[in-house]
């Protein structure tokens, strides 16, 4: 019911959406989110570092909390690490619940928590050199919504 995957390999967003929706029993609503590497400002590559062991643990804790709060029928969190090109799919989440509002809120919650509570760090490679992406104060502030 809770599916957490941290991987270097690409994933097939459409296939994951189809499989996730097909596996739900009693859900009236499925919400999926997919994050894509943007090629803004000449970005050449996005490097994603993570903390093996803690990453899976943190994502599982976040997904458990979402499932508990919104009585979800299923949760998927899939996040890549390694070096990604513009246009590549970085990560996805999927949620399912009997009512629509639960599936939407849970997906939004997962994204907010994943962003500042799961140990991933992004490094952007541009013609002028590499730089680590700085966390935004607004990312931390977003958690106060929940």
């Amino acid at each position: 019911m809770i599916d957490i995957r941290v991987q270097a390999e690409p994933f097939d967003y459409g296939q994951e959406c189809a499989d996730f929706a097909a596996a739900q029993d009693g859900a009236g609503a499925v919400v999926t989110f997919c994050g894509i590497v943007r090629g803004d400002g000449g970005l050449e590559a996005m490097e994603i570092e993570h903390y093996p062991g803690m990453t899976e643990r943190a994502l599982t804790a976040i997904a458990d909390e979402a499932a508990r709060r919104w009585a979800l029928t299923g949760v998927l969190v899939l996040h890549r690490h390694g070096t990604l090109s513009p246009g590549a799919h970085i990560m996805m989440v999927a949620t399912a619940a009997p009512p629509r509002a639960s599936a939407f809120s849970a997906a939004d919650f997962l994204m907010d928590y994943l962003k500042s509570r799961a140990p991933f760090w992004k490094k952007e490679h541009r013609p002028e050199g590499p730089s680590w992406v700085a966390a935004k104060a607004s990312d931390e502030d977003a958690l106060t919504r929940w």
């Binding site: 570092e49 903390y51 803690m54 996040h79 509570r117 490094k123 966390a135 931390e140």
Partner: protein
């Protein structure tokens, strides 16, 4: 006690190592940071501003005043930027 110390992202780059093993009697994370800063200028620079750092004790996020008793793996890293 013996602790495994891990560094990620720009902390790893500034310190020049992803992990190191230390012997310490530091009672808290903050006290451990003090000891690490004294090692060399790389540690001192990377660990100078606690507000720019996050710490995990045995893979759980903690505050800097967290006790180290019983801990095995302490990790330092910048605020996370996943998603």
């Amino acid at each position: 006690m013996t602790l495994e110390i891990l560094y990620f992202a720009w902390l790893r780059e500034r310190i020049g190592a992803a992990r190191e093993t230390v012997e310490t009697d530091a009672p808290t994370v903050a006290a451990l940071v003090e000891e690490l800063r004294a090692r060399d200028p790389h540690h001192a620079a990377a660990l100078s501003d606690l507000s720019a750092l996050r710490v995990a004790v045995d893979q759980e996020l903690r505050d800097f005043d967290a006790p180290l008793a019983g801990a095995r793996e302490i990790s330092f890293f910048p605020p996370m930027t996943g998603g």
